[in-house]
């Protein structure tokens, strides 16, 4: 005797359950599959590649009409189940049909949460959940504007997909950084930068106030700071709620989701539930990995086999081309937790591991997620990492036997690993070029263009050469900062960041400085790097700055100094000129020169007079023109619309604005 199994919802979870069940017991069941969507099971998570144009809908269908037919599944797609009568063991379809079940499986998924903003019911305000939503977005093109509310996984995949179609997309996110549940700030920053590079406008810490419409259709989103973001379509991707209405009306035990036990059985022994609609041990679910586990357990339960659903550690990736990120576990700061952080600014790589009790409990990676599976394994297995702590962050290639050998990591890279980001050159292409005769960096550059643009991958290219050619290739030693160390500027910067070196002695120690306290070459560099990386923790060391920066004047060949007050955009006043003239008289300045940077240089000031002359100039409202700094010195302007016969724009005003915005940052502009 076949049993009647009715399944409500043809989603990712029930699809998997059905497969497992019918594989094991093809003849035991009369299955009726209801689905509110007018189609069968498909791989919902692949809607994003469909949206981006990388896949078609046909490619993401998981079960064909043929499969349902062969397995004797009665499909009632496009039909909602209206009610369940548990006492009679029947369900009522939308059209009034009443069907009897022996076993019932609920897999109703979730409903997207729509923020009840004024205007949320306007035409053109949609969620991102099913093929219909996807199609609405796919209908947009370069002539259209779209606003996405929500900077989480779903919102960003929607935004990136539409941006790939040329749509002008703005993401509005209420939190300070994107994907804040999965990423920390640093990774959020890198992600934002990558999305902005794709032409997406990203607004964080932005509060939506109202959806504005015209003739019943959305026209713009109004933020609470008054900004209006015009749009033809507004996508809300701010979260999901388990879809429990039907279960609730049927009197099943429901909390946030439908309560199930470890066997996926609800409060009614003949009713099972799987997927996003369930609540298990207080948790609800939003990713497919646990749902697949649930599906298997539910099938086993129906088969009368013993199995139990266990919640596992979850990880997240974002399916946006060019944004490689990975997040798993718990990475909030906390007592007894330590961080290991690795950053490579040039490659846009960020890795952070959170350690507690000698095990990794959380990981966030951006830019280079190649080793993510390995790290995820360590989290899941709670592996004790004490012995590999020093090299842990560098990944599996650095563990055991060959620590710190950079060639091992390069050798371990697959052929499709990108080496040169600027020109999109993979390791395989470089290997092919080497096989075709290219024997050194110059030849690789000439034949593949690898490292021919920004040059940051030069080291990697050389390592590929070394790995491929073996002894035939001699790695050129990179120039070290100075004689105090063998490390390059990049090496040291990496150490400062990854090892959290926050003082000069820490750098000297950890990087094996050969001198007690550096020299005139490395100290100013270290002082700058430390200030740049740890602006709050590191105190500037004046004794590591060149004399000009200490005295706010330029030392001259005779040991006197030159003093250059700032003149914003080259504009001055009679009062300023008088003050300069007075200072020149008072301090017997031998030479007064107009500079090429549109300001006035007082040359030949004695070192001991500098505080006094600056006091006078400051009193007249003038500050240093930083004529010595490795930062913004001056902004030269032409007079622009105020006076020029041919002026079309306020160039002086722009110059002043630029100078006022950028001065005094003391940062290298390279």
């Amino acid at each position: 005797m076949k049993q009647n199994l009715i399944i409500i919802g043809a989603g990712m979870a029930t699809g998997r359950a059905l497969e497992t069940l019918l594989d094991a017991d093809p003849d035991g069941w009369n299955v009726t599959l209801f689905n509110a969507e007018p189609r069968g099971n498909y791989n919902r998570i692949m809607l994003s590649p469909v949206l981006a144009g990388d896949k078609t809908y046909a490619e993401i269908e998981t079960h064909s009409t043929q499969w349902y037919a062969q397995n004797g599944v009665t499909c009632r797609f496009g039909e909602k189940v209206a009610a369940i009568d548990r006492a009679a063991k029947t369900v009522t379809a939308q059209n009034g049909d009443v069907l009897r079940y022996d076993k019932l499986m609920l897999g109703t998924g979730s409903t997207p949460f729509m923020i009840p903003l004024p205007g949320h019911d306007l035409e053109g305000v949609i969620a991102y959940r099913d093929l219909e939503d996807t199609q609405r977005m796919m209908d947009l093109g370069p002539q259209n504007k779209c606003v996405v509310i929500g900077g989480g996984l779903l919102g960003l995949e929607a935004a990136a997909g539409m941006a790939a179609r040329g749509v002008d997309v703005t993401v509005v996110h209420i939190m300070g950084h994107l994907m804040e549940r999965q990423l920390d700030e640093a990774a959020g920053y890198l992600l934002r930068r990558a999305l902005v590079d794709k032409g997406i406008t990203v607004k964080c810490s932005a509060n939506s106030k109202e959806i504005l419409g015209v003739d019943g259709h959305v026209r713009a989103l109004l933020l609470d700071d008054g900004t209006e973001l015009p749009c033809d379509l507004l996508v809300m991707a701010v979260g999901i709620r388990p879809n429990v209405t039907l279960a609730q009306e049927a009197g099943l035990a429901v909390g946030r989701g439908i309560h199930v036990d470890d066997q996926m059985v609800t409060s009614d022994a003949d009713v099972l539930a799987v997927g996003e609609c369930v609540e298990h041990n207080g948790a609800v679910f939003g990713l497919v990995a646990p749902l697949y586990d649930q599906a298997k357990v539910a099938a086993r339960t129906l088969l009368g086999e013993a199995d139990a659903f266990k919640q596992k550690e979850l990880s997240t990736k974002l399916k946006v081309t060019g944004c490689d990120l990975f997040s798993a576990g718990d990475f909030a700061d906390g007592e007894g937790r330590e961080d290991i952080v690795f950053r490579d600014p040039a490659r846009g790589v960020y890795r952070r591991l959170v350690i507690e009790n000698s095990a990794i409990i959380g990981a966030v990676m951006y830019g280079d997620t190649g080793d993510s599976n390995w790290f995820f394994g360590l989290i899941r297995d709670k592996t004790d990492i004490t012995d590999m702590r020093d090299t842990l962050i560098f990944g599996p290639a650095y563990q055991g036997g060959t620590p710190q050998d950079p060639l091992a990591a390069v050798a371990a890279l697959p052929r499709d690993a990108e080496i040169c980001g600027c020109n999109g050159i993979c390791k395989g292409q470089i290997e092919d070029a080497i096989a075709a005769g290219a024997g050194d960096l110059a030849a690789i550059k000439a034949t593949t263009k690898a490292s021919a643009s920004c040059g940051t991958c030069t080291g990697l290219v050389e390592q590929v050469l070394a790995v491929t050619l073996g002894d035939d290739f001699v790695l050129p030693a990179a120039a070290s900062i100075c004689a105090c160390t063998d490390m390059t500027h990049e090496d040291v910067r990496r150490m400062i960041k990854s090892q959290k070196l926050m003082s000069m002695p820490a750098v000297w120690q950890e990087c094996g400085w050969k001198t007690s306290c550096g020299c005139h070459v490395c100290r100013p560099a270290l002082n700058f790097y430390l200030l740049a990386d740890w602006p709050l923790d590191y105190a500037d060391d004046p004794q590591s700055r060149f004399i000009n920066e200490r005295k706010h004047a330029n030392i001259q060949k005779d040991g006197t100094f030159s003093v250059v007050p700032r003149m914003w955009g080259g504009i001055t006043t009679p009062d300023e000129l008088r003050a300069i003239a007075d200072a020149a008289d008072k301090f017997a300045v031998p030479t007064v020169k107009v500079t090429g940077g549109q300001r006035i240089d007082l040359l030949g000031v004695k070192g001991e007079d500098l505080p006094a002359i600056w006091a006078d100039l400051n009193a007249a409202g003038m500050v240093s023109g930083h004529a010595y700094s490795k930062g913004l010195r001056t902004v030269k302007t032409c007079v622009g619309t105020d006076h020029c016969r041919f002026g079309t724009q306020d160039s002086t005003g722009l110059g002043i604005k630029l100078e006022k915005t950028l001065w005094g940052h003391g940062r290298h502009i390279s």
Partner: protein, 111 residues
């Protein structure tokens, strides 16, 4: 006969910094190293007279701010490939005070 005079407190000079003492015969640069040793030298680089007191101090050496000659604070000798020497003077720290030898300063020959 040395005749020590109190110039300043050690703490008046920052670590790896210098101050200048004006004498009748010229400026003397007084250096304090990272290890709190004190040295006194002519404040004029043997290369082109650069003010050594304005240089960056590292170890027991200072780099001249004009052309980066490195001068030993102990011997006054230019280091490395450069050749030249600058006069040095006895200096010591006692109970946190910097002392210079007046007798030597007075008898020094003008640079």
């Amino acid at each position: 006969m040395s005749d020590w005079i109190d110039i300043a407190a050690l703490s008046d000079i920052p670590r790896r910094g210098a101050r200048v003492v004006k004498t009748h015969l010229g400026c003397v640069a007084v250096f304090r190293t990272g290890a709190d040793d004190v040295f006194a030298l002519n404040n004029a680089c043997p290369h082109k007279g650069g003010p050594l007191s304005e240089g960056i101090v590292h170890g027991n050496a200072v780099t001249c701010p004009l052309h980066n000659w490195v001068i030993s604070l102990e011997t006054g000798q230019a280091q490395g490939a450069d050749e030249g020497q600058v006069a040095t003077y006895p200096a010591q720290v006692k109970e946190g005070r910097i002392l210079l030898d007046k007798s030597v300063l007075v008898s020094r020959t003008p640079a």
